[in-house]
Symmetry: D2
Subunit: 454 residues, 4 copies
C-alpha cells in the first residue's frame, strides 16, 4: 500500500486557484500518466471558444482545479469535523485519498468536443472514465493499484455514485460539487465573463458533513444562493450562446455526413473511405474500445476536418470550410405556437440549394438551475441542505425565495439553425434572390414571424 506523502509538496501555478498543491505521491503519479496527460489536448469548453476567444483552457487544467478544491475541502473537514466515533456522521479522514483521486479523474473519459461526439457516436464519457480506471491496461489503473487492490474499484464507484460514503459522492457529484465549483470559476476567468464567480472560501468554511452527505450552515444561505445564480448565469449567457450552438450544429452535421459517406462506402465497393484518416476509421466502423478511445483528442479530429476541406463530397467540403473559417449558421428562437412554420422554412432552404438534413437543425438547450429531490423524476437530484443552529436540516429553496423562484424551472430556448446565405441582403443579380426574399418574410429582425398574408 502506497499512501506516501511527498517530502516537498509539488506546486502547479494556476490562475484560478493561485496554486494547486500536490502532497501525495499517488496524486503526482496519476497526473504523470499518459491518460491524464491526454486531457491537455482536449478543450474544456469545446466549441465555446469560438464565441469566447479567451476560453481555450483544457480539461487538464479543470481536472487539477477540481482536485485542488477537493483537497482544500478535505483539509477543512479533517481539521474541524474529523470523526470521533464510527457512525457519528462526521468526516472519516481515511476517505481523503479516494476523494482526491475521484476529483482528479472525474473527467478522464471525455473525448474531443464531447457533446457532439457523444451525440454522433453514442459514447458516454462517464462510462469511459470508469472503464479507464478499471481497465488493467491503463497506467491510471496501475497507479491506483499501488494504494490498495480495491482502490480502482472504489474510485470508479465514486464516479458511478454507488460508493457507500455519501459525503464523498456528493462532494464529487451533486447540485453543489467540486466539479461545478471549478468549472464555473474557471470558465468565467478564461472567458472574461463577469458572472460565474461566487464565494468559494465561504462555502468551504460553512460546509458540514452529516450522516447522509454534506450540508451548509444556514448562515451561508446567501453564498449558496449566489452559487446557484452564478451557475444559471453561466448557462444562459455562456454555455447556451447561440453562436456556439451554431458551431456545434455544424460539427454535428459534418460528422453525420462523414458517417453517412462511410456507410455508403461499406455498401458500395466503388466508393472509397480513404478520405477518413486511419486514426478515425474505428470510430465509424463502431466498437470503440478503451485503448482506441484514448488515442482520440481534439487534434486528431481537427486535423481530419482540415483534410475534409478538400473532400470530393461537396457537402462535406463545404461544411468543413464553414466550420474552420467560422462562417456559422444563423438561428432564430422557435417561439411557442410557431413551430408549424418550420417545414416551410426547410422547404425554402432546400429550394435555395441546401440539403435540409445537413444545413438546418433544431437545437434546444435547457438547464435546470436547481431542483429539490423528486424521487419519481427520471434523474432525481440530491437537493441542497442547510443546517440550522439546532442541527436540523432545511432544504435550500425553503429558505431562499430567489432559489424557490428558480427551482424546478428549465431555463434556455429552442432554436432553428440555417445557412447565413438565407439572410443575404442585396441579391438582385443572384438567381436565388426570390427564394431568399420569401424566406425573409418569415425571419425578420432575427425573429420568427408569421407573414401577414401567408
Amino acid at each position: 500500500m502506497s499512501t506516501q506523502k511527498l517530502k516537498n509538496e509539488k506546486v502547479f501555478r494556476d490562475p484560478v486557484h493561485d496554486v494547486i498543491r500536490v502532497q501525495d505521491q499517488v496524486i503526482l503519479d496519476l497526473i504523470d500518466t499518459s491518460e491524464f496527460q491526454r486531457l491537455r489536448r482536449i478543450k474544456q469548453l469545446g466549441i465555446t471558444s469560438e464565441v469566447y476567444h479567451g476560453a481555450e483552457h483544457s480539461r487538464f487544467a479543470h481536472s487539477l482545479g477540481v482536485y485542488e478544491i477537493a483537497r482544500r475541502f478535505a483539509e477543512h473537514l479533517e481539521n474541524y469535523y474529523a470523526t470521533k466515533v464510527p457512525g457519528d456522521g462526521l468526516w472519516d479522514p481515511s476517505e481523503r485519498l479516494v476523494l482526491l483521486a475521484a476529483a482528479l479523474l472525474h473527467d478522464l473519459g471525455h473525448g474531443p468536443y464531447s457533446h457532439t461526439f457523444e451525440h454522433i457516436f453514442g459514447t458516454d464519457h462517464e462510462a469511459y472514465t470508469q472503464a479507464i480506471i478499471l481497465s488493467e491496461d491503463t497506467e491510471i489503473h496501475q497507479v491506483l493499484l499501488q494504494v490498495a487492490p480495491d482502490f480502482p474499484a472504489k474510485v470508479a464507484a465514486v464516479i458511478a455514485k454507488t460508493y457507500d460514503n455519501q459525503q464523498v459522492v456528493q462532494l464529487i457529484s451533486s447540485q453543489i460539487d467540486v466539479d461545478r465549483m471549478d468549472y464555473l470559476l474557471r470558465d468565467a476567468y478564461y472567458s472574461g465573463a463577469t458572472y460565474g464567480r461566487f464565494d468559494l472560501s465561504r462555502l468551504m468554511q460553512m460546509m458540514r458533513p452529516y450522516q447522509d452527505g454534506i450540508a451548509f450552515d444556514v448562515r451561508s444561505m446567501n453564498a449558496v444562493e449566489d452559487y446557484i445564480i452564478s451557475r444559471y448565469q453561466m448557462y444562459v449567457q455562456v454555455y447556451f450562446h447561440p453562436v456556439s450552438r451554431a458551431m456545434e450544429v455544424m460539427l454535428t452535421a459534418l460528422l453525420a455526413r462523414v458517417k453517412h459517406l462511410y456507410a455508403l462506402s461499406q455498401k458500395d465497393t466503388m466508393r472509397s473511405s480513404a478520405f477518413i484518416p486511419e486514426a478515425l476509421k474505428p470510430l465509424f466502423a463502431g466498437g470503440i474500445d478503451v485503448n482506441y478511445y484514448l488515442t482520440l483528442d481534439d487534434a486528431v479530429l481537427l486535423a481530419a476536418i482540415n483534410t475534409w476541406r478538400y473532400a470530393d463530397d461537396s457537402i462535406l467540403a463545404d461544411l468543413a470550410n464553414r466550420f474552420l473559417d467560422r462562417r456559422q449558421f444563423k438561428s432564430i428562437v422557435i417561439t411557442a405556437g410557431m413551430e408549424d412554420l418550420l417545414p416551410k422554412l426547410r422547404e425554402l432552404i432546400a429550394m435555395a440549394g441546401f440539403s435540409p438534413e445537413y444545413y438546418t437543425a433544431e437545437n434546444d438547450s435547457y438547464d435546470l438551475s436547481y431542483d429539490i429531490y423528486r424521487p419519481r423524476s427520471k434523474k432525481p437530484q440530491t437537493q441542497i441542505e442547510l443546517v440550522r443552529p439546532d442541527c436540523s436540516l432545511v432544504e435550500l429553496s425553503a429558505e431562499s425565495s430567489l432559489v424557490e423562484a428558480m427551482s424546478g424551472r428549465y431555463y434556455g430556448d429552442a432554436r432553428f439553425f440555417f445557412p447565413r446565405e438565407m439572410l443575404a441582403e442585396q441579391a438582385i443579380d443572384d438567381v436565388m434572390a426570390p427564394v431568399y426574399g420569401d424566406f425573409q418574410r418569415y425571419v425578420h429582425n432575427m425573429e420568427l414571424v408569421r407573414p401577414t398574408e401567408d
Copy 2:
C-alpha cells in the same frame, strides 16, 4: 475605397482588455477571413502550456489584443496630438487604418510551434506574414484591397519596418510596442504569473509622437521602467522555463528524426514515407508555398505526432510518446568552464542506449531586456526616448539607473538536456545501473559537477 465605419461597433469580450472594440468594416472583414480564423488553431505560447497549464490561449486572442491596444493608442493620439501642419511631427489621423490593420495582422504568418518549426524547416514567420498580405490568393489581400490598391503594400511595409511613417512602425515594432504590451499582459493573465503586469493606461496617456517616432513623457519614466522589468521577468521566469525548453528540445529531435527518415526514404525505395500524413509531406519535401503553409496548424502537427507513437522507427515512436505523455528531458545549467565535461556525458548517455543526436541537446536562451541604439550592432534596437518638459529627448537608461544596469545585458542561461532515466535512483537490478551511477557523479543536485577523482 472602403473605410466605412460600422453603424454599431462590434465587441469581443476579452479577459485582458475587458472588451475589444471593432469600429471599422474592414477590420471586421479581416477578422472573418479564413487566414485570420486559422490563428485560433495556433497556440500563442506553443509548448509553454506544458509548464503553465493555464496558458493555452491562441494567437487569435493575442492578435485581437494587439489590435485593441493600437486602437486605443490611435484614439488617444488623434484626440490630443493630431497633426495641424504637415510635417509638424504630430500624429496623422489618416494613418489610423494602416496602424490597426498591421497590428491585427502582425502574427498572421505564424505556424504551429513556431520556434521549433522555423528551426527545423527554415521558415520565417515574418516573411510569411508579408506574403499572406501581398498574395492575391488570400482573402486577407482581397479585403485590404478594398481600402485602396496600395493598402496591402502599405500594411506589409509596416510589418517589414520599411514604412515611411516611423510612428506607425515603432508602435508596431520597437522595444516598447503594442505587440509586446499585449503579450506580456496576456501571457501573465493566462499563466497566472504575478509579474508581467505594467501600467498600460499610463503608458498610453504619456506617449507622445515626435518627428522620428514615439516617445514617452519623462514623468512616466517609472512606468516605462516597470514595463522593461516586467518583460525581463516574463523572459527569465516563463519563456525560458527549463521544462518548456526541454519539451522544445524533444520536439526538435522528433521532427529532425522524421526529416532524417524521410530523406532516407527518398534515397532508398525500400523504405516507405507512408508514416508521414499527406498533409505534412510537402513540409519534408521542401518548397512550402503560402497556400500550403496556410493549411498548417497545431492540430495537423499534433495529430501526426499522435500517429508516430506507433511508428516502426523506435526512436521516433519513443520521442512521440515522451512528448505527448510529457516525460520531458531533464537539464542542467552549463556552468562556465565546465563545457569540457559534456562529451563525457554524451558518451555515458550513448552507453545507456540513447542516441546522443536525438536524446541530448544544448539549448541557450538569452534575452536582451533593453538596449540603446547601437548602429554597428547586427540587429540595432530603436532606443526608448523620453520627452523632457522643454521638449528635448533623453534616452531611457540615462534617466533610469535600474534600466541602465540592465541595458545591453543578456539574461538567461545555457543548458544541457538528457533523458530522465540517467538520474534513476534505485537501479540495482537494471543492467544500466553502473552507467547511471557514473553519470550521476557528474550531475549532482541538478548541477554539473566535476567529480573529485575523474
Copy 3:
C-alpha cells in the same frame, strides 16, 4: 461661458475603473473646491467598514467613479446616438456637461454616517446637495456659474429629477443609474465581496436613448438581470449585515442620548452642555445652515465620540466605549408571530440594569430590488425598459422570469438588538445570572423562541 477642454487630460488612478479621465476645465475646478474635497473625509459605507474592514473608501472616490461612468456613457451616446433632428429622441451632445457635473456632485450633501445622522437630526442629504449647488456662498456654485448663469439651477434640477431631459435624469437616478453602477462595483472591490460585479461594458454598449429616457437592447437582458441580482446580493449580504446594523443602532442610541442631555441642559441651568464640542453644538441647537453643515465630517463626529468616553453621564460614556471598541449589540430576527415576546425581553433587559430606550432597538432593513412603475405608489419607480429589434419597448420583468420573481418584493429582515451581556454564559457569581438565564429561555441559538412553559 467656460466649457473649455483641458489641453492634456488629467488622470486619477482608480482601482475600480483603472483611470478616471478629466477632460474639462470645469470638472477639474469642481473637484478642487473645498466642498468637494470635504467628501474625502466622509466614508462611503459609514459603519459597514466595522464588518468589512477593507471597505474604508470615501464618498470622494465614489463620486469620481460615478463621474467616470457618466463620462464613458456620454462618449458612447455621442459616438453612436447623437441627435440629428431636434426631437428625434436621440442623445443631445450639449447635455454632456450637465450630466457630468450632476454625476460628480450627486453626493455632495452627504454628512458623516448619513443614515444615522439624518435619522437623529432630521436632515436630508439630497436637499443639502441642491442647496450647496445653489448657494452663492459655495465654491461649487461659483465654478458652475462660469459655465452659464443658469447652469447651477440645471445641475440642481437633475439632482431633484425635475430636469426636462429625462435621459439625463434617468442616467443619474433610476433603477439602473451611474450612481448604483459605481457603488456596487466599488463596494464589492473594497469589501472583498465576490458578488456585486456585473458587466459594465456591455450595459454601456447596449444602452439606447429614446424619447422618454434610456433603455437597453433586449440582447443585453441577461446583463441587466445580472445587475439587478448583484444589487440584491449586495443588499442582503453587505448593506444589511446584522453587525453593521448593530453598530448603527448603537450610534443612534448614543446621539439620541447626547440630544437628550443637551435638551436637559437647556431647561436646567445647573446642567452643563460643555461636554459637546463647540463644533457640534449647532447640531443640537437646531437650525443647521449650509455653511455650518459643510464643516461636518466623519472626523468631527468621531473625535466627539472619543471625548464622550469620559463623559459624566454613564450611559453616554458606556455607549461611546462600546461603539469605539466595537463591542456591538447582539441581535435576533423578529420572526413573524413572535413580536409579543419583545416587551418581556425589554423587561428582562431593564432588570439587568440596561435602559431599554438606549440599549434595545428594533431595526428593519428591507430593499426593493426592482419594481415596475406603479403610478399610485408613494415612491413610483422608473421601470427598466428593453428595446426589441423592431424598436418597441418591453419592461424588464416581462422578459426575465428571474427578475419577475423578485419584482415588487422586499428583501431583508427585522431584528431586535440588545446588549451582548444578556447572552453571558457562566454567570454563577454574577448577581444578574438569573436574569440572564431567564432571557436565554427566549433567545436560543441566536433565534427568538417561545419558552415551552411561559
Copy 4:
C-alpha cells in the same frame, strides 16, 4: 495558560488575502481589545490617500493581513520543516503563537499620520508598541498574560528584535518580512497601482528555516528579486509621490505653528491656548504617556485641524485651509549643484508675503531597496540568504545581477516646497506680479534653473 484553539475558526473577509483565518482564542481576544480596535481609526498610508484616493485602508486591515501571512508561513513551516531534534535549525512549532501575536501587534504603537507626528512630537511608534504590550494597564497586556506570565515580554522582544529565536525575528522584521509583504500587496490593491505585486505563494513555498534565521530556496531567486523590485517601485512611485510629500510638509508646518503658538501662550498669559482642543493639549505640553497616547487617532487630529480653519492666527488658519482643501505646495527637485539658489528662492517667497519657516521646506525621501549586511553601518541590514541544493547559503545579490545593481543604492530625491501662488501665471493686476515673475526665472517647467544673467 490559555492556548486554546477555537472550535470553529473565525473568518474575516479580506480583499487582499481573500480570508483572514483566526484559529486561536487568544488571537481573537487580542483583536477585540480597545487598543487594537483603535487601529481602525488610523489610516495605513496617512496622507498618501490625498494622491491615491483609493488608498484609505486602515492599520487594522494591514495588521490582520500581516497576521494572516505569518499564520500561513507558520503552517507551512510546521508541515514541512518542524524541528526533530532540539538545535537542528528547523522550525520549533511552539513558537507559533509568539510569531502570530507579534505579527498582529507590530503596528500597535502607530499614531495618526505617524511620519509627521513623530517628527514634530519626537515620539517613536516602535517604543509605543512595546510599551502598550508591556503596560499592565492595557487590555492587550491582560490578554497576552493569559498565555503565560512571560508572554508579553516575549512578544515585545520580537518587536525589539532582541528575541532569541532569529527565525521569528526575521519573519517579523528583516528585508523580506511579513510586514512588508502585506503592505506592498495591500497598498497596491487599494491604490490601484499595477506594481507592488509579487508571488507570495512561491515565497512561502520556498522559504526555509536555518540555524540563524530564514532563507529561500535558490530556485525562487526570481521571486525574491521580484519582491525587491516591487518594493522599489512602490517607494519611487507611491510612497515618495511629490504631492503626498507636499501635504506632509504642510501638515508639519501646521503642527509646528500650533506648537509655536502654544509655547508663546505658556510664556505670555495674555495669549490663550484655548484654540487647542483639550484632547490634544497634553501633546503640546509634553510627557505623552501610553494611556494618553492611546486616545489619539486620525479623527482627533483632523477634527482639530477643522477648527483651526477659524483660528485667530492667520498662518495657522491658512495652513489648515490649504491642508483640508488640498491646495498643496508645489515642489521642484533640488538638482545637485544648485543648492545655492534656495536662499534666493526663500527670499522671494518672503517678499511675496509668505513666512519661509512655514511656507517652504526641503524634504528628501530616499529608500534603500536592498543591502547586504554591513556590520559597521549605522543600521545594519539582515541580508537575504538563498539556499543552494547542497544546503550552502548564498547572499541574494551574489545570484541576482539585477539586485546587485540596486544593492546599497538609495533611490529617491530631495525637493524644495513652496506655495503654488509663486507660479501664478497672469498676475498683471497683482502687486506681487514682479516677485512671482522673478521667482519664475528660477523655476521653469517645474525644474530648478539658473537664470542666464543672475
